[in-house]
């Protein structure tokens, strides 16, 4: 496997925003323990701005680092801005990811979108969130 960048290792060893938010405005859980990663993202929203984000993740070094990075990226952003955060942006902010770990950045994007989707549901508003279709998992290779 390719090595992790120093930025990935830094976010893995000292992840930002770990934890839960009591009475969060949106919570999204994505992934599957069978595939090796589950991410849960909590967001607090005030006036259409994400004022706080926290995460809990079961997963590899890249899964923890992308969770940490996506919470960093989303804090202080408007919902519209947050909806534009892509997996590529998360990976790029981490100085890149090994090819076999790109699915972790997809999972981070999914977790964010799932939390935003939950936020709209809680508000009783039709959700404009489109979930990414492809999670990059290949199950048939050895």
């Amino acid at each position: 496997m390719e090595q992790y960048s120093s930025k990935v290792m830094d976010h893995f060893a000292h992840p930002h925003n770990v934890g839960e938010i009591e009475n969060a405005d949106g919570v999204g859980t994505v992934g599957n323990p069978v595939c090796g990663d589950v991410m849960r993202l909590y967001i607090k929203v005030d006036n259409n701005v994400i004022t706080d984000a926290k995460f809990k993740t079961f997963g590899c070094g890249a899964a923890i680092a992308t969770s940490s990075m996506v919470t960093d990226l989303v804090k202080g952003k408007s919902i519209d801005e947050a909806l534009k955060i892509s997996n590529a942006a998360v990976a790029e902010a981490l100085g890149g990811l090994p090819k076999v770990k790109m699915h972790c950045s997809v999972l981070a994007e999914e977790a964010l979108k799932s939390a935003l989707d939950d936020y709209y549901k809680k508000k009783g508003v039709a959700s404009p969130v489109k979930m990414p279709a492809e999670s990059g998992h290949e199950h048939d290779m050895e």
């Binding site: 770990v18 090796g36 590899c60 050895e142």
Partner: protein, 396 residues
């Protein structure tokens, strides 16, 4: 910082005595063993001396040892070579589901060229049932390949009971002894096998030197052609220094194996107990008794293997993980799947394999460092959060 290497199943360091034995054969005695001049003859003598030592380790005669470059090559050579050379007798092969991929992939390749393969399951401790082997045998069966011990979970298979069956039926029996040779006694006579793979770097020899034992009189088709080396069975100029190293490592292993078993099993038991006392929701994989002395394979609920591996690495501790995330396929180990380990916990697996360089202090250090890593990752894990909430709700 202390460094603790607990990945001896991946590879071992070259023993200083092995290195010393190898050094003259790089630029001093550098000849090609196939040459008739004195420079070549010296190299040839060194290779043959190494062959005798290598043979002695497994109770074979030197003529029954074919040198190869790796355990994977030995396994490929055995499975394909024995199947192809004996295909006039039949085209059915039996292997277990927990074999190394260097057996499973050649088996798949043989299936594509007209062979049929039965993949036997194991019980939940990783044991192949000899009765299952007997039941799987048909008139068409020519070859059985069951590993001596599994490289991940360490379970030692009932090879002698299986060879009784294969010998009665006149079927060839190969065993992959890469995980066992040098760590427990391996004797081709006692085991009753017709072919056996082993590899030097698994027991303090150099990488790039391994062997396949093929019982005298058993036909095997070469897989690397175009040279007279290895009695015409494996072409290619011999890796003389590496083979000398393999011979020396074999000599050391033969003398030390009892001591290695005693030393590593006592440290392994200490490590296992220390972790069991400090960490909840932990599963020991493999057979409780019929297990390699230096092997500890454990799964931790709610945490993922690679994260544990990386944090241990930061503390100077080297281990392996059996997690899906480390493989390209995002599938957990085929061995853990076969023994029925829950896929969720299989991803939280660490493989720790001990060696003669580990001390009791090293084990104390691991017992001190690992539990807080598991706890830290659990506190970060949504699976642990869910479990704790369920627990609380149930307690109400």
């Amino acid at each position: 910082m202390r460094t603790v290497y607990l990945d001896h199943a991946a590879t071992t360091p070259v023993h200083p005595k092995v290195l010393e034995a190898m050094l003259p054969y790089f630029s001093g005695t550098f000849g090609n063993p196939s040459n008739l001049h004195d420079i070549g003859r010296e190299a040839k003598n060194a290779v043959e001396e190494a062959r005798a030592k290598t043979a002695a380790l497994v109770g074979a005669t030197p003529g029954e040892i074919y040198f190869t470059s790796s355990g994977a090559e030995s396994n490929n050579f055995a499975l394909k070579g024995l199947a192809q050379a004996n295909s006039q007798k039949g085209k059915h092969i039996i292997v277990s589901q927990i074999e190394h991929f260097s057996i499973l992939h050649p088996a798949k390749t043989l299936e594509k060229s007209g062979f049929t393969v039965t993949y036997l399951p194991t019980d939940k401790e990783g044991l192949v049932n000899p009765d299952d082997v007997a039941k799987a045998i048909t008139k068409d069966t020519i070859l059985v390949s069951i590993m001596h011990a599994n490289n991940e979970i360490g379970t030692i298979e009932p090879i002698e009971a299986i060879s009784k069956i294969t010998r009665e039926k006149g079927i060839l029996f190969h065993t992959d002894a890469v995980a066992t040779t040098g760590w427990i006694p391996v004797n081709v006579g006692t085991l009753g096998v017709d072919a056996l793979s082993f590899s030097g770097h698994q027991f303090y020899g150099p990488k790039g030197a391994a062997a396949l034992f093929v019982r005298k009189g058993v036909r095997i088709k070469p897989q690397i052609e175009g040279g007279i080396q290895e009695d015409g069975r494996r072409a290619g100029t011999e890796n003389v220094p590496a083979l000398v190293g393999l011979g020396k490592a074999a000599e050391l292993a033969a003398a030390e194996v009892g001591n290695r078993m005693k030393y590593t099993s006592q440290l392994r038991d200490k490590l296992q107990k220390g972790l069991q006392d400090r960490i909840e929701d932990m599963v020991i994989n493999g057979h409780p008794v019929s297990r390699l002395p230096h092997n500890l394979n454990v799964s931790f609920w709610y945490v993922e293997g690679e994260s544990m591996l990386l944090f241990l690495n930061m503390e100077g501790i080297s281990v392996s993980s059996g997690s899906a995330c480390t493989s390209r396929s995002l599938k957990s180990s085929h061995v853990l799947t076969c023994i029925g380990t829950d896929a969720a916990v299989a991803n939280g697996t660490l493989l720790m394999t001990l060696g003669m360089g580990n001390s009791a202090e090293d084990i104390d250090y691991v017992i001190e460092k690992l539990p807080p890593i598991v706890q830290r990752l659990r506190e970060m894990s949504p699976l642990y959060e869910d479990m704790m909430k369920k627990k609380k709700a149930a307690a109400r």
